[in-house]
């Protein structure tokens, strides 16, 4: 069985790029609509909540509420972009478009395909997160050039959430199941990770939960970068995100092998 599992892991370090390029080509055809679509929602939330609530709240952790919220929005939109790309777009390529089936006829392995999909979802997350960070920087809600440190973290956040979502895609019989993951996992995570308000506002037990969530680790890195402040425990946060990116990859590979290669 170990040998069989090894046979579906990535065959080498670059095969996945062919899958990434396939997705890039498909995306290029709808790039403008895609960028506007993934920007509109977080931007509306940022300015709606930021200006509206900002007036009532005043300053948070020594900065304007909108600047505090901007970092949360960048991380959240990276999470949402890569989650959506995985559970809807990648799932459709696996399930009803049979794109993966065609790729499996070639010298690519299942692991190569999954790696390509994860890298692509991380790219989408980077585009979405970086666009908001850029707008925030232009409007003075994020510090230049320290905001650039946020970029690799946005990509890593995308990778971690794509990897988690891939497990969900591997288990879901149809699209109908994804709403559970969104309402029970990703949406609550926004509130438990300090995206909209400081974690210290939560009861102690929930604060403890927050320390384990990938989004919280992401925000703890992105917010200091955007506000040009020193960050604590950088290695811990990066390490946690890496674990969230790597471990689920092996789980979803095993699950997809069972699903697709019976």
């Amino acid at each position: 069985m170990g040998e069989a599992f090894a046979a579906v892991l990535p065959a080498n370090a670059w095969n996945w790029a062919a899958v990434w390029r396939r997705n890039y080509l498909a995306w290029k055809k709808v790039a403008l609509a895609s960028i506007l679509g993934s920007l509109a929602d977080p931007m509306i939330s940022l300015f709606g909540l930021g200006t509206g609530l900002g007036i009532m709240i005043g300053r948070v952790e020594g900065t304007s509420y909108i600047a505090f919220l901007a970092a949360g929005m960048v991380a959240t939109s990276a999470m949402v972009a890569s989650t959506f790309e995985t559970i809807y777009a990648a799932f459709s390529r696996m399930h009803d478009r049979r794109t993966w089936e065609a790729i499996l006829y070639t010298r690519l392995t299942l692991g190569d395909i999954l790696l390509g999909e994860l890298a692509w979802a991380a790219t989408r997350a980077l585009l979405a997160g970086a666009a908001i960070a850029f707008v925030a920087a232009v409007l003075g809600y994020a510090a230049w050039p320290s905001v650039l440190y946020a970029l690799p973290v946005i990509a890593l956040t995308g990778l971690a959430f794509a990897s988690l979502a891939m497990i969900v895609a591997a288990l879901a019989p149809s699209y109908d199941y994804f709403v559970f993951y969104q309402t029970l996992v990703t949406t609550p995570m926004m509130f438990l990770s300090g995206a909209f308000f400081p974690l210290t506002q939560l009861p102690g037990a929930l604060q403890q939960v927050g320390r384990f969530l990938p989004l919280a680790h992401s925000i703890d890195l992105i917010r200091p970068a955007m506000l040009d402040r020193p960050a604590d425990g950088i290695a811990l946060h990066i390490g946690a995100l890496c674990i969230y990116a790597v471990l689920p990859f092996f789980i979803s590979t095993a699950l997809f092998r069972r699903r697709l290669m019976r």
């Binding site: 046979a7 065959a11 095969n15 010298r107 290669m261």
Partner: protein
């Protein structure tokens, strides 16, 4: 014929305690066209998946292009082209983009793919459609593109699962003509089909599958000679029971399928004499074909 392209030895596979492939053994020599003929659910597609290393057998041994499957599937697949039962082309891409993207999955450079695209388009008669979106192509064109795509890595072996199912006769003949062209150039083809005409026209040898078992194997001609060996008269329109007792003395064997009587008659003239003057009946005399073999072996009609 040189060494074997595919070898199955005692291969078994079951899903949910039901055998879909049961003790199947066969050998496909390199350069030949080998058919897996059988009704839906006979295990054809499962065998095709096993040839590709996508399904692991429960027991038995599979070798494809000299590589043990599925363990070394990745290596074997470098020399295999696949035409699947259901089109899985990139609908939003153009014909050219489909070939480009697929070539990259074999590690080919953009330059080397672009160098062979013209010959693939010419082969598949899609020169004028190079920049058309696949979603706008007809069913026959999509199939031809799938065939061109399967050739991008210049494979020795083509695996085709129901290559002409769902196509109109014209499109089907064009595919058959293209496949004969490939065979003439020395490619090996294994195809699954439930069209006996397809099997008879293309296959050098074939095996007849029923409920996962290999129930007969040989060239279409040999199978027909061995199992039938005489003219067939099909009669329809009357009461099968009554006709059966009328004609039985003059024929070797009778099979009833639905309202049709299949009479295997060494001397067809004698049968025709009996039917003369029966305006309620329609009948036709024809040479035996693979469908008769299948009917004979299983008592079942192939699905059309």
């Amino acid at each position: 014929m040189s060494k074997a392209a595919i070898e199955f030895t005692g291969v078994k596979k079951s899903f949910r305690n039901k055998f879909v492939v049961n003790e199947v053994s066969f050998t496909v020599a390199s350069g030949e066209c080998f058919g897996l003929l059988g009704p839906n659910g006979a295990g054809k597609s499962t065998i095709a998946r096993m040839v590709l290393g996508m399904t692991r057998p429960d027991a038995g041994k599979i070798t494809v292009l000299g590589e043990p499957m599925p363990e070394r599937g990745r290596l074997a697949r470098k020399g295999i082209g696949v035409v699947p039962q259901f089109d899985n082309l990139e609908l939003d891409f153009t014909v050219r983009e489909n070939l480009l993207v697929f070539g990259r999955y074999f590690g080919m450079s953009t330059r080397s793919i672009e160098a062979i695209i013209p010959s693939l388009l010419e082969f598949s008669r899609l020169e004028s459609k190079a920049d058309a979106r696949v979603a706008d192509l007809s069913g026959g064109m999509k199939r031809r593109l799938t065939l061109a795509r399967a050739l991008i890595n210049d494979p020795q072996l083509l695996v085709m699962d129901e290559p002409t199912t769902g196509l109109d006769p014209h499109a089907r003949h064009l595919i058959w003509e293209r496949l004969r062209f490939l065979l003439a150039r020395g490619k090996t083809i294994i195809l699954t089909t439930h069209f006996m005409e397809e099997a008879e026209r293309l296959c050098d040898r074939l095996c007849v599958l029923d409920h996962g078992r290999n129930i007969a194997e040989g060239s279409p001609h040999t199978l027909i000679e061995e199992h039938i060996g005489c003219q067939v008269i099909e009669i329809f329109g009357g009461n099968p029971q009554e006709l059966s007792s009328l004609i039985r003395p003059y024929v070797q064997r009778i099979e009833v399928s639905g309202e049709t009587l299949f009479c295997y008659a060494p001397d067809p003239e004698q049968v025709r004499v009996q039917l003369r003057g029966r305006a309620d009946l329609r009948y036709l005399q024809r040479p035996p074909n693979l469908e008769d073999v299948f009917l004979r072996l299983t008592g079942l009609e192939l699905e059309k």
